[in-house]
C-alpha cells in the first residue's frame, strides 16, 4: 500500500490565531441561553450570529478564491473554524454553506458557479446542497427528477440559493434554485435544532427556470461532500473536546463523600480514556483534513476521510454521553448545555454517512473484502 508524505497535523500560527478569533467572538455573541432557545422555536440568534461570523469575520468566504472575493484559505482553516463553532454549538450554516456548497461550486467550473461563489464569499448569500443530510460522499447522490421533494436537508432554512442535483446516473446536473416562487422549505422539528433540517420541494417550473451550475456534477458533489465530511470530523472533535474540558472542570470542583469527585479512580480512569479518545480523534480528523489539503490522490483522500468519519462520529457520541453521565442530574436539565452537545453529537453521527457506511468504504479501499468474496 502506498504511503504518502505525512501532512502537517499541528496548527500553524495562522490557524491558532483564527481559532482564537472565532472563540473570542463566540464567547461574546453566542450565549448558551440563546442557543437553547432554538429548541423553543426562537431562532433570533441565527441571523446576527452568522452576520458576525460569516460577514464581519469573513468566514463565509474562507474557502473561496481571493479573486472571487474570498480568502483562499485551505481546508485546515475551515476545519479549525468548524471545531470552534461546534464547541459553542453555534447555530450557523458554516459547514453547509461555506464548506459543502462552496466546495461543490468551486469544483463545478462554470461561469454561473463562479458568480454564485462570489456571492457566497461575502456571506450575505448562503447556499445549501439539496440532499438528505445523511448522504455519504462516496455513495450515490440521490438525484431527483422534474419535481423535487427532498427530506431532511441541512442548511436549507438559512439558504438563499438551493443547489439541486437533477437527472440520474451519468447525466447528473446541478441547478441553482433561488428560494422563492415554486420553492418550499418546510422546517422540521429536528433532534438537533442548532442545525435544523427542512423538507424541500421545488416545482417543475422553478427547477426548469433555474440556471445549470454544473452539467456533469458528480465529481463536484463528491468533492463537496468529502470536504464536508472531513470538516464534520473536526466539528465532532470540537464537540468532544468541549465535553471533556467541561466534565473535567466539573469533577474538579464537585464534592461528594467529603471528596472532590475527580479524585475517585473509577472516574479518573474514565476521563483518561476519554482524553485518549479525544486526542486520537483529533489526530484522525487532522490527518483527513491535511490529506485533503495537501495530497492529490483521490483514493487516499477517500480512505482517510472515511477513517476519520467512522472514528470521530462514534467517539463524539460516546464522549457526549460520558459528559451526561458524569454530570448526572445536572445534565438532564434544559438549562445545562450538555444536552446541546449530546444532540449535536448524535445528529452528526448520522450526518454525511453513518459510521457503518464509512467503514464499508474503508473495507473496500483497504482491500479488506467482506465474506463471500473470493481471492483473485
Amino acid at each position: 500500500m502506498t504511503t504518502h508524505a505525512v501532512p502537517d497535523l499541528l496548527d500553524s500560527e495562522v490557524v491558532s490565531d483564527l481559532r482564537a478569533a472565532v472563540r473570542d467572538l463566540l464567547a461574546d455573541r453566542c450565549p448558551v441561553g440563546a442557543v437553547t432557545a432554538c429548541y423553543d422555536g426562537d431562532r433570533s440568534l441565527v441571523a446576527p450570529l452568522w452576520r458576525a461570523v460569516g460577514v464581519d469575520l469573513g468566514l463565509a468566504g474562507l474557502l473561496v478564491d481571493e479573486d472571487r472575493g474570498g480568502h483562499g484559505a485551505s481546508l485546515r482553516e475551515a476545519a479549525a473554524v468548524a471545531e470552534e463553532l461546534a464547541a459553542a454549538v453555534a447555530p450557523v450554516p458554516f459547514v453547509t454553506s461555506a464548506v459543502v456548497a462552496t466546495t461543490v461550486l468551486a469544483h463545478a467550473g462554470t461561469p454561473e458557479a463562479d458568480r454564485l461563489l462570489a456571492d457566497l464569499a461575502g456571506g450575505q448569500v448562503t447556499a445549501s446542497l439539496v440532499v438528505p443530510w445523511t448522504t455519504a460522499p462516496e455513495g450515490r447522490v440521490p438525484a431527483v427528477g422534474a419535481r423535487v421533494a427532498v427530506r431532511s436537508v441541512a442548511g436549507a432554512l438559512e439558504a438563499h440559493v438551493l443547489l439541486v442535483p437533477t437527472g440520474a446516473g451519468d447525466a447528473l446536473e446541478l441547478r441553482a434554485v433561488p428560494v422563492g416562487d415554486g420553492v418550499t422549505v418546510e422546517p422540521v422539528v429536528s433532534l438537533d435544532m442548532t442545525r435544523q433540517l427542512a423538507d424541500v420541494t421545488v416545482d417543475a417550473a422553478a427547477l426548469a427556470a433555474a440556471p445549470v451550475v454544473a452539467t456533469d456534477a458528480r465529481d463536484a458533489l463528491r468533492a463537496g461532500l468529502r470536504a464536508g465530511t472531513a470538516v464534520l470530523a473536526a466539528e465532532q472533535v470540537g464537540l468532544a473536546r468541549r465535553c471533556l474540558v467541561d466534565t473535567v472542570a466539573y469533577l474538579q470542583q464537585r464534592r461528594q463523600f467529603g471528596r472532590v469527585l475527580g479524585g475517585f479512580q473509577a472516574l479518573k480512569h474514565r476521563l483518561a480514556d476519554v482524553y485518549v479518545e479525544v486526542e486520537s480523534m483529533g489526530a484522525a480528523a487532522a490527518f483527513a483534513v491535511g490529506t485533503l489539503a495537501d495530497v492529490d490522490d483521490d483514493l487516499e483522500q477517500a480512505l482517510v476521510t472515511a477513517v476519520a468519519a467512522a472514528a470521530c462520529s462514534d467517539t463524539a457520541v460516546r464522549v457526549a454521553e460520558e459528559m451526561v453521565q458524569l454530570h448526572a442530574g445536572l445534565a438532564m436539565t434544559w438549562e445545562h448545555p450538555a444536552h446541546l452537545l449530546l444532540k449535536r453529537a448524535k445528529s452528526d453521527q448520522l450526518a454525511l454517512g453513518s459510521p457503518e457506511r464509512h467503514r464499508a468504504v474503508v473495507a473496500r479501499l483497504a482491500d479488506l473484502d467482506p465474506p463471500g468474496t473470493r481471492l483473485g
Partner: protein, 393 residues
C-alpha cells in the same frame, strides 16, 4: 534547500566516502555515529546534528535504500529508546562520551533494572540498596522482569540511597556494568514458553560514583524521564500504514477468504480504523516532539497501542480457526530481541498481554493521564510523608 534535502545530501556524501559494500559493518556504524547521522535529533558530537526528530526517517530511508546494515535496533530497544535519551538529558560529558557510541552501534546493549518483587507499579517503593564506599557504590538487592538482562552489557538501575526519607526522595539512578561479578542473571520463563525476561540478583555489585546519573537522591526525577521515553518507545508505533499488528491480521484476512464471517469482518474493519487513527495520533505526537519537549502524552499512545495489539492478535487467532489452535513452539529459549509482531498468531496473542503491563500498566497510565495531563487529584497516599523504612511491607 529543505532540511530533508540537505540531510539527504549529507547522507549521500557520507556514503560516497564509506561504501557499505566494502566497509566493515561496525566501522560503518561507528563512522555514521561520528558523522552525526545516528540519531539526528541528538546533539552534535553525540551521534546527532541537533535537528528535529521528524527528520530521522529521512536518514533511515537513505541508508536502507543502499542496503547499508542497520544497528539492529530490535536487540537494543531499552538502550536506544530509554537509556540513551536519559543519558543525553542527565549524563556528564564523560558519561556521554563513554556510553552513547557503543550503545548506538549495538556493541553494548542495555537492560532496565527497575522493577523488584516488592515494587512493580509502585516503583518508588523499591528496596535495592546502594551504599557509598569511598568513591564506589556497593549495591545489594533483587530485580525482576528484566528483559534482555542475559544479553545486556550495561543496565540503567534505580536503587535506594537513603531509607530515612519518604520513598520518592531517597532514590538514585546508576549505570550498572552487567559483567560485574556480583550480578547474577537467571532466566524467568514467560507464558509464551520463552524467557525474554530474567531475575537479576545484585550482591555487592560495585559501581563507580562516576557512573551515577544525576544527583544523589534525584533518582525518581531521572527515572520518570526514562519512563516517559519508554512509553513513547513502546507506543509510538511505525509511520507506515499496516506496519504493526494490524498488518499481520490484514494479511491473514486476505489469505483466508474461507474464514470470513460478517462478525469477524465488522471487528476487523473497526480495528483497522482504530489502528489508522492510532497511526495518525502517533504521527502527530512525533510532530509535537519535533517542536518541543516530551511530556506524559506518550502514556496515551501506549494505552491505545496495548489495547489494539491485544484486540487484533486475539482476532487473528479466531480468524485462523483450526490453525488458531496450534502453537509454534513452547521450548524455553532466551531470545536476543523483543518482537511484538514476530512468530505465529498464538505467540503474538500471548506476548501482547505484556503490552498493557510492561512500561507501566494500563491502570497506572490512566492515573498518569488523569493526574499529569488532566490535572485531577492524585490517589490518596498513605505513605506520602513516611520515611521509606517505616512503610509496612
Amino acid at each position: 534547500m529543505s532540511a530533508a534535502a540537505e540531510l539527504r545530501e549529507r547522507v549521500a556524501a557520507f556514503l560516497a566516502e564509506h561504501d557499505p559494500a566494502t566497509t566493515e559493518r561496525l566501522d560503518l556504524l561507528r563512522a555514521r555515529y561520528d558523522a552525526g547521522l545516528a540519531w539526528v535529533h541528538f546533539p552534535p558530537g553525540r551521534g546527532g546534528l541537533g535537528l528535529p526528530r521528524a527528520l530521522q526517517p529521512v536518514v533511515e530511508e537513505a541508508f536502507a535504500a543502499v542496503g547499508a546494515p542497520d544497528n539492529a535496533p530490535h536487540r537494543n530497544g531499552i538502550g536506544l529508546g530509554m537509556a540513551a535519551p536519559t543519558i543525553v538529558a542527565f549524563g556528564t560529558p564523560e558519561q556521554q562520551d563513554r556510553f552513547l557510541r557503543p550503545l548506538w552501534t549495538g556493541e553494548e546493549t542495555w537492560c532496565q533494572l527497575f522493577s523488584e518483587p516488592g515494587a512493580g507499579s509502585d516503583l518508588a517503593a523499591l528496596g535495592t540498596r546502594a551504599v557509598l564506599d569511598g568513591d564506589t557504590w556497593v549495591v545489594d538487592g533483587q530485580k525482576v522482569w528484566t528483559s534482555g538482562a542475559h544479553t545486556a552489557r550495561f543496565a540503567i538501575l534505580v536503587a535506594r540511597t537513603d531509607p530515612d526519607v519518604p520513598k520518592h526522595r531517597g532514590l538514585t539512578y546508576f549505570l550498572c556494568d552487567m559483567t560485574d561479578p556480583g550480578v547474577e542473571v537467571r532466566p524467568l520463563r514467560q507464558l509464551t514458553g520463552e524467557a525474554e525476561f530474567n531475575e537479576v540478583f545484585l550482591t555487592g555489585v560495585r559501581i563507580p560514583d562516576a557512573h551515577r546519573l544525576g544527583e544523589v537522591g534525584e533518582g525518581w526525577r531521572v527515572a520518570t524521564a526514562t519512563l516517559d521515553h519508554e512509553r513513547v518507545a513502546i507506543g509510538a508505533g511505525s509511520p507506515a500504514r499496516e506496519s504493526g499488528m494490524v498488518g499481520r491480521v490484514a494479511e491473514t484476512w486476505r489469505a483466508h477468504p474461507e474464514a470470513r464471517t460478517p462478525g469477524l469482518h465488522d471487528r476487523l474493519v473497526r480495528h483497522w480504523v482504530d489502528a489508522e487513527v492510532a497511526r495518525a495520533a502517533g504521527l502527530r505526537l512525533q510532530q509535537k516532539l519535533a517542536r518541543g519537549q516530551l511530556g506524559p502524552e506518550g502514556a496515551a499512545m501506549k494505552l491505545v497501542f496495548a489495547r489494539l495489539a491485544q484486540q487484533l492478535s486475539g482476532l487473528e487467532v479466531e480468524l485462523l480457526g483450526d490453525d488458531g489452535l496450534r502453537y509454534s513452539d513452547w521450548t524455553l529459549v532466551r531470545p536476543d530481541r523483543v518482537d511484538f509482531t514476530g512468530r505465529d498468531a498464538g505467540y503474538r496473542y500471548l506476548r501482547a498481554k505484556g503490552n498493557s503491563i510492561e512500561g507501566g500498566t494500563s491502570e497506572i497510565l490512566r492515573n498518569i493521564v488523569a493526574e499529569r495531563v488532566l490535572g485531577l487529584p492524585g490517589e490518596p497516599r498513605v505513605d506520602k510523608d513516611v520515611p521509606w523504612k517505616e512503610i509496612p511491607r
